[in-house]
Symmetry: C2
Subunit: 472 residues, 2 copies
C-alpha cells in the first residue's frame, strides 16, 4: 500500500502555510509532471490522512482546493480523480491566440474565412453619426445617465412594432448586450447546477461554454438537413429530465441548416409534454438568399409560453455596439430580468437610443437590404468556387442564407481540419476548424467552416484555391 | 405512516403528462397553500414511491424538478426539504417595484435619497458630444465594429498612465461593462460552486446576489469605523477554506466606512497565509471631502498578486455608459478574460473610445473636480440637517466622502426602516432600508441609507425634516 502512496509523501512542518495547501500544491505538481496521470484515482481521504499523519479534514480541504483549481474531479461514492486540461481547451486556445495575434497586429493580407459577422464595409457611418447627434440633441445627458433595467422604452416599442407587428408587447422585451449575454442570462435564470440541456450537434461554442460553466449536463443531438434528428431527441427526453433545448433556428452555426416548420412544431409539442424550454438564438435570419425558405421563428409558433427568444443586433448590424433583445416566457420574465440586473445592471442607454432612431428612420431596413444583396453575390460565388476547386475533397449542404459554408472533408483525405487550419495560417488563409463546435472536440476534426463576410469575390476565389492545394 | 403521507396522495392516470411532473405540481401546490410548511421534510423517496405505487426514479425526478424551481432543497444524507421564498427576496421586490413605478412614471416631486450615482446635473453634454463626433470622424465604422476582448487599447493605455502612473501595464487591464459585471465575471472565473466567500456586513446587495447565484457559502464580518473586525475575520479564515473576500475599500456601501491602511496591510498578509483573493470594488474613491483620508487601494499595496481590482466609471461618471475596468491577479488573467468572452464577448467599443478621448483631453479631471466641489457642499449640508432634525433619533459615522450617510435608528425608537420606507414613500421621500445589505435581511431593519446625489440642499433639508416627523 505504502508503495503506491509513496509519491504522495510530503514533509509537513509547522509553519505559516496551512497543511492542506502544502498537500494541494504537492499533488498539483504530481499531476503537472505526469507522476499522477489524467483520470488517475487519488488515494482515499482516510488513507492519505493516515499516511501523512494529518486529520481527514486537511485532506478534504486539499482535495476541495484541487477541484476548485480544475485539477481534480469528485465522483460521488467513488472518490477523487486527477484531471488534466482537455484537448478542446487546448485547441481553443491555439485558435484564439492565432486569431488575436493576427488581428492585433492588423496583418491585412490574410484571407479571413473566420468572420462571424458583417464586416462593416457596407455601413454608412455618416447616417449613424447624424442619428447619434440627433439623439444627444434630443435627450441631452439623459441619454448617458439613464439605466433602464428592461432597456430603453423607445427601442422596445420599435422592436415590438417593426419586428413583431405588435404581437409581442414592449413590456415583454428585455434589451441585452448581445446574444452571448442572452444565453448567459437565461442559463443563470432558468438552469440550475446539474440540470440537463440539449444542444444541436455541432453547435455554437459560446453556448457550449456557458452551459459548461453553469455545470449543466449537456446532451447533443445530431443535426440533419432540416433540423435535429427527432428520434434521438425524443429518446433523450424520455430518459432524462431536460430543462432546456438550445437551437439556432436559421442558418445554424456552424452547419448552416435551417429547422423545418414541421420539426419546429414537433419540438414545441414535445416541450409541452416533457416540460422543457426552447432557447431560440435567432442570429442571422435576415440573410435569406433562397426564396423557398420562409421565416417562422419558434417564438411565433409558440402557444404554450415555451420559448426564450434571443436576437442579436450585433451579429447582423454592428458587432461593436453590443445590443440585442430577449423575449422570455412570461413565467420567467422576472427571474431573467433579475438575472440581467445581477449581471450588468443594464445595457448602454445611448446606443439603444441611437439604434431606435436608426430603425425608426428606416435606415435599418435599407442597410439590411444592402447586406442581403451584397452577401447573396458572395454566397453564390463561394459555392461556385467550392464546386470548382474542392468538389473531390469536401461535401457540403447549401444553407440558402447566412454567411458561411460548413464543409466535410471526404473520407479518402488524410488531412484533418487542424492540419488545414495550421497550413492555411502559414499560407495566409484563416479557416475555422470543426473542433470548436462539439462537446467532444475530436468529432469535429473532419469538418471546417468558411465564411464570406470578410472577403470579397476575388479573395474568396484565391482562398478556396489555396485550400484546394493544401487538401491533397 | 400513511396518515402523514395522505396529503401527498395524487391520482396518477396514464396520459401524455409524465407522472413525475404531476407529482411535482401537486407538491408545489401543497407548499404554496401551506399544507407543507417551509423547511418541512418531504417524505423519503422510497416511501413516497411505495405510497404512490411508482418507481423511485419518478419521485427522484419530481424532487429534482422541485429543487430546480426553488421549491425544495436537498441536504446530502438527510433528505429533501420544502422551501418558501425568503423575506429578503420579498422586500427586495417591494423596494424595486416601488422605485421602478416612481421612476418610470417620472414622478418628479419626490425627494430621492436612494441615488447610487451622480445625477448628471453637473455634466456638460456638449463636451461629450464633441468628443463622440471626434471619435467617429477619426475611427469611422471601426468604432462601431471592433470587438476587442480586453477592451479598446487606447482606453487601457489612458487608464494605465492617468490612473496608475504606468505601474499597471495596459495588457493587464480588462475593460468591463460596469462594476456589477466585474463581480459577476470574477465570481464565474474564480469561484466554484460551494466555495466560500467573506463579505463585509453590511454590504452591497448586488454583490450578495451574485455570490448567492453562484451557490457559494457566504460569511459576513461586521464592519467597524476603520474596516472589518479583524478578530472575527481571522477566526473565519482559520476554520474555513475561504476563496475570496469582497470589499469596498472607500466609503463602503452602505456604511460609508473606509478601510484603514493598517487593516489593508493586515488583510493582504492574511490573504497570503490563508490563500484567498481580495475582490476590491473601488467605486467612489474620487469623492474624498475629508483631507485626512489618503487614497491607497488594496491593489497598490499588493505584492503577492492577491487583489482583483474593480473600478466602475459608471458609478462616478455616467451610469448609462456602462464602462469600468478590472485588474486581475496575473494567475487569473486568462480565466477572467474568458469569463468576459463567455458573458458578453466585449464592451461597446465606441463608448470606450469616447471615454478615452474624454480622459486624454483632461475633461475627466475637470468633471471630477466639479463633482467633488458640488457634493462636498451637499455632504456638509446633509450632516448639518441630520444633526438638526434627527440627532435624538439616529446614530451615524461621518464617512468623509462618497455620496451618502448610513443611519442607525436609536434603540428607543419603535419604528423600523421598512416602516420608514413605506411612510416616507407616501409622503414623497425615498430612502433605502438597511434590509437590502444583509444576508439575513432582518439584521438591517434598524438602519437606513440616505444619499445626496439626486437632491439639492433645499430638498435635503425638506426630506430630512419629513423623516424626523415620521420617526417619532
Amino acid at each position: 500500500m505504502n508503495f503506491i502512496l509513496n509519491k504522495y509523501f510530503i514533509h509537513l512542518s509547522e509553519g505559516e502555510i496551512p497543511k492542506y495547501l502544502l498537500i494541494e500544491k504537492h499533488i498539483k505538481r504530481l499531476i503537472d509532471t505526469n507522476m499522477v496521470e489524467d483520470r488517475e484515482r487519488l488515494p482515499s481521504i482516510r488513507k492519505l490522512a493516515q499516511f501523512l499523519n494529518v486529520n481527514n479534514i486537511t485532506v478534504i480541504n486539499a482535495y476541495k482546493k484541487l477541484q476548485a483549481e480544475g485539477y481534480a474531479i469528485q465522483k460521488i461514492g467513488s472518490g477523487t480523480y486527477a484531471k488534466k486540461k482537455d484537448i478542446h481547451k487546448n485547441f481553443n486556445r491555439e485558435y484564439s491566440k492565432a486569431l488575436k495575434r493576427i488581428f492585433n497586429e492588423e496583418i491585412v493580407d490574410y484571407v479571413d474565412f473566420t468572420g462571424e459577422t458583417p464586416s462593416g464595409e457596407f455601413f454608412q457611418i455618416d447616417f449613424f453619426k447624424n442619428v447619434l447627434n440627433e439623439v444627444l440633441d434630443r435627450d441631452g445627458a439623459k441619454a448617458l445617465i439613464c439605466q433602464e433595467s428592461l432597456g430603453y422604452e423607445g427601442l422596445r416599442s420599435s422592436i415590438s412594432s417593426v419586428f413583431w407587428n405588435k404581437k409581442v408587447d414592449k413590456e415583454d422585451i428585455l434589451i441585452i448586450s448581445g446574444a452571448q449575454q442572452g444565453i448567459d442570462l437565461v442559463s443563470k435564470a432558468i438552469l440550475n447546477i446539474n440540470d440537463s440541456v440539449i444542444v444541436e450537434k455541432p453547435t455554437y461554442s459560446g453556448a457550449l461554454s456557458v452551459f459548461k460553466w453553469r455545470r449543466t449536463e449537456i446532451f447533443e443531438v445530431p443535426i440533419e438537413k432540416d433540423g435535429i434528428n427527432m428520434d434521438k431527441f425524443e429518446k433523450i427526453l424520455r430518459k432524462n429530465n431536460i430543462r432546456c433545448f438550445y437551437t439556432m433556428s436559421y442558418f445554424q452555426n456552424p452547419t448552416g441548416v435551417s429547422c423545418s416548420n414541421y420539426k419546429k412544431i414537433q419540438i414545441l409539442k414535445l416541450a409541452q409534454i416533457y416540460d422543457f424550454y426552447i432557447i431560440e438564438d435567432d442570429y442571422l435570419s435576415e440573410l435569406i438568399y433562397d426564396n423557398s425558405i420562409r421565416y417562422n421563428s419558434f417564438k411565433s409558433l409558440d402557444n404554450n409560453d415555451r420559448v426564450v427568444y434571443i436576437k442579436s443586433f450585433s451579429k447582423i448590424f454592428l458587432p461593436g455596439i453590443r445590443i440585442g433583445y430577449l423575449i422570455p416566457p412570461k413565467r420567467f420574465k422576472e427571474s431573467i430580468q433579475n438575472s440581467k440586473i445581477n449581471t450588468d445592471i443594464s445595457t448602454s442607454s445611448i446606443m439603444q437610443r441611437a439604434l431606435d432612431l436608426y430603425i425608426r428612420k428606416g435606415l435599418w431596413k435599407n442597410y439590411i437590404e444592402t447586406l442581403n444583396c451584397a452577401y447573396k453575390k458572395r454566397y453564390i460565388h463561394m459555392e461556385k468556387c467550392i464546386l470548382k476547386y474542392l468538389r473531390d475533397k469536401v461535401e457540403f449542404l447549401k444553407p440558402g442564407g447566412g454567411l458561411h459554408f460548413y464543409l466535410k472533408i471526404k473520407e479518402n483525405i488524410k488531412l484533418n481540419s487542424v492540419n488545414i487550419f495550421r497550413q492555411g495560417k502559414d499560407r495566409g488563409i484563416l479557416i475555422t476548424p470543426g473542433l470548436l463546435f462539439y462537446k467532444n472536440a475530436l468529432e469535429g476534426k473532419n469538418y471546417f467552416k468558411i465564411s464570406f463576410s470578410h472577403t470579397n469575390e476575388e479573395e474568396i476565389e484565391y482562398g478556396v484555391k489555396i485550400l484546394s492545394e493544401i487538401i491533397k
